[in-house]
């Protein structure tokens, strides 16, 4: 019986079908098709933003076995830097011209990513490199760095939550019949899809990607084949930090109001995504992020009292079923 269920599951797409299965199960529980569409698009958009933040952490974790709790600092700084740039470009942000809106958004996200690149490089060199292969020290020093970064956010932007201006072209919703689809979340879904496609192509169609995938499985063997894994790791760490900052910038726009705790709050979701997706796997991170995003939105609507626990329950169920996550990079 179990084998039959397993074969059927594989025939319909295996773990890749899970988000769709979740959507189908949610439809009768939500009860209204327009509401279901709204919740589904919201969940996919939220999932893609979490994916942006989780993908780099997953690769760093998988490639160098580094537990970087400081990852959320890049999320926080990304959000605050983007908010600052958007506030400075308030005229473009509020203009009735989508080109100016898009320019303002590009400048904000670009500034956040640039910070992620530079700070990620410094963070790796100063904080992470001295504690390779020592998990306890990694946890202690990256949490320490996170505390310092959170305090820096307070020093620079103060303790009062600040609002994030949303570019005019991303405000409001598409109305199609009875269905209302939030423009910002649709945009987040589009951006996440583009980033995932680019990452997927780099990882699966280039020699650099081949080296990263091999390094996630067996660092030592990659070096024995003649490649410096350390240089590869710096690159992955820096790109992961920039993506975290980009995710933070997008998340800030979605929240509308951000405070210094933003990074730490989102980091719980990011860790859940990395764990249920499987370490070192971009596809796993995407699956995990979509499930977290969708489930969070459905549960908040159907069983509001369960919404806080829903993602923890999801993680428990998936780890009981697949202890190494949905799509681990390492085949055992």
């Amino acid at each position: 019986m179990n084998k039959q269920i397993s074969a059927l599951f594989d025939r319909i797409g295996g773990v890749y079908a899970l988000p769709i299965i979740l959507m189908v199960i949610a439809l009768p529980l939500v009860g209204s098709f327009p509401t279901w569409v709204t919740l589904t698009v919201a969940g996919l958009g939220m999932g893609m933003m979490i994916f942006l933040m989780a993908s780099g952490l997953s690769l760093v974790f998988g490639l160098m076995d580094v537990l970087n709790f400081g990852h959320s600092a890049f999320i926080s700084f990304g959000a605050f830097i983007a908010a600052t740039v958007l506030a400075a470009l308030a005229v473009w942000v509020g203009a009735d011209n989508w080109m100016l809106n898009l320019l303002a958004l590009t400048a904000a996200v670009g500034a956040a990513m640039l910070f992620g690149l530079v700070a990620g490089w410094a963070f790796e060199a100063v904080i992470v490199k001295p504690v390779y292969s020592d998990h306890l020290r990694q946890i202690l020093i990256t949490i320490g760095a996170l505390i310092v970064a959170d305090q820096l956010v307070l020093v620079i932007w103060g303790g009062i939550p600040i609002s994030v201006p949303k570019p005019a072209f991303l405000q409001g919703s598409f109305i199609i019949g009875d269905v209302s689809i939030e423009i910002y979340r649709s945009f987040a879904f589009l951006v996440g899809t583009i980033v995932f496609t680019l990452l997927y192509l780099v990882l699966n169609r280039t020699r650099l990607g081949l080296l990263i995938r091999a390094g996630v499985e067996n660092r030592e063997m990659v070096e024995a084949l003649g490649f410096r894994i350390g240089r590869l790791f710096v690159l992955v760490f820096v790109v992961g930090s920039a993506l975290a900052a980009m995710g933070g910038a997008m998340w800030g726009g979605y929240q509308g109001l951000i405070s210094g705790e933003l990074g730490s709050q989102v980091m719980i979701l990011v860790f859940i995504v990395v764990i249920i997706g499987g370490l070192g796997s971009i596809e796993g991170s995407l699956l995990g992020a979509l499930l977290v995003g969708l489930l969070g939105n459905y549960v908040a609507f159907i069983f509001p009292k369960l919404s806080l626990a829903s993602n923890m329950l999801l993680m428990m169920v998936i780890l009981l079923w697949r202890p190494y996550g949905l799509k681990p990079a390492i085949k055992r």
Binding site: A214, E217, M221, E223, A224, I229, K331
Partner: protein, 238 residues
């Protein structure tokens, strides 16, 4: 001296607080198959890993093709022309056979003649070219590990217990393949299977407790049952 491709001079290696190699000195001649024999824990794998720079020699010197490689990074040692096939084969299970092979090329391109030679030696590699490596059998994974080591010209191949866990029929196929490979490459082979080792080896060194306890021609060891008993009785299987 000049006909030695690899020299180890009084190499001491520690792993954590334990000293594993207690002054290994070994000369590996150019060409042929040279075997390192010894019981479990004698230091055979540590010797290969120390040569590759995966574990650092505390003292002593390692010279490859007149380059001092004692303190070089593993990747630089590999690029000098040493291939390494570890005991666990080091296969990337999530990659296809083709991708595993591509990684071992420094130019990212296959030499058609070498690829044909590999397909002749191990037809399974051609058959399963686009399959993920985790789906291969143990013997096929070993074939992939060895194919990866010879996909480009290497001067020296270090191979750690290639017959471990393999069926006798596959071991016979491996003997034929290794004879072919050794025609243009030097092989330093760590092995516990004396039948396999004696079928291939030109010279032999026996390690005991982190030191070389015997060094000579394989033919002499094969012909001298007393010497075999004295050196190998603790660990070898025929």
């Amino acid at each position: 001296m000049s006909d030695h491709i690899l020299r180890l001079d009084d190499v001491h290696t520690d792993i954590g607080q334990y000293q594993i190699l207690h002054g290994i000195s070994l000369n590996v001649p150019q060409g042929g198959v040279h075997v390192l024999l010894g019981r479990n824990g004698a230091g055979k794998t540590t010797t290969l890993r120390t040569i590759m720079g995966l574990w650092r020699a505390r003292t002593g010197a390692i010279t490859f093709n007149h380059h001092d490689i004692t303190n070089l990074h593993t990747s630089d040692i590999a690029r000098l022309g040493i291939a390494y096939v570890p005991e666990n084969m080091g296969i990337f299970g999530g990659l296809t056979v083709a991708e595993n092979m591509r990684l071992a090329t420094h130019s990212d391109r296959f030499d058609a003649d070498r690829l044909d030679r590999i397909h002749d030696l191990f037809p399974a590699m051609k058959k399963f070219w686009d399959r993920p490596a985790w789906a291969l059998s143990g013997g096929q994974k070993q074939m992939l590990a060895i194919s990866r080591a010879i996909i480009e010209k290497r001067d020296l191949i270090l191979i750690d217990e290639p017959t471990k866990g393999l069926a006798p029929a596959i071991i016979e196929a491996m003997i034929a393949a290794f004879r072919e490979i050794a025609q243009d490459t030097t092989i330093l082979l760590v092995e516990q299977n004396f039948h396999f080792a004696s079928s291939l080896g030109d010279s032999v060194a026996v390690i005991d407790d982190g030191r070389i306890s015997h060094h000579g021609e394989m033919a002499d060891l094969v012909a001298d049952a007393d010497l075999q008993n004295r050196l190998l009785s603790l660990s070898m299987s025929a």
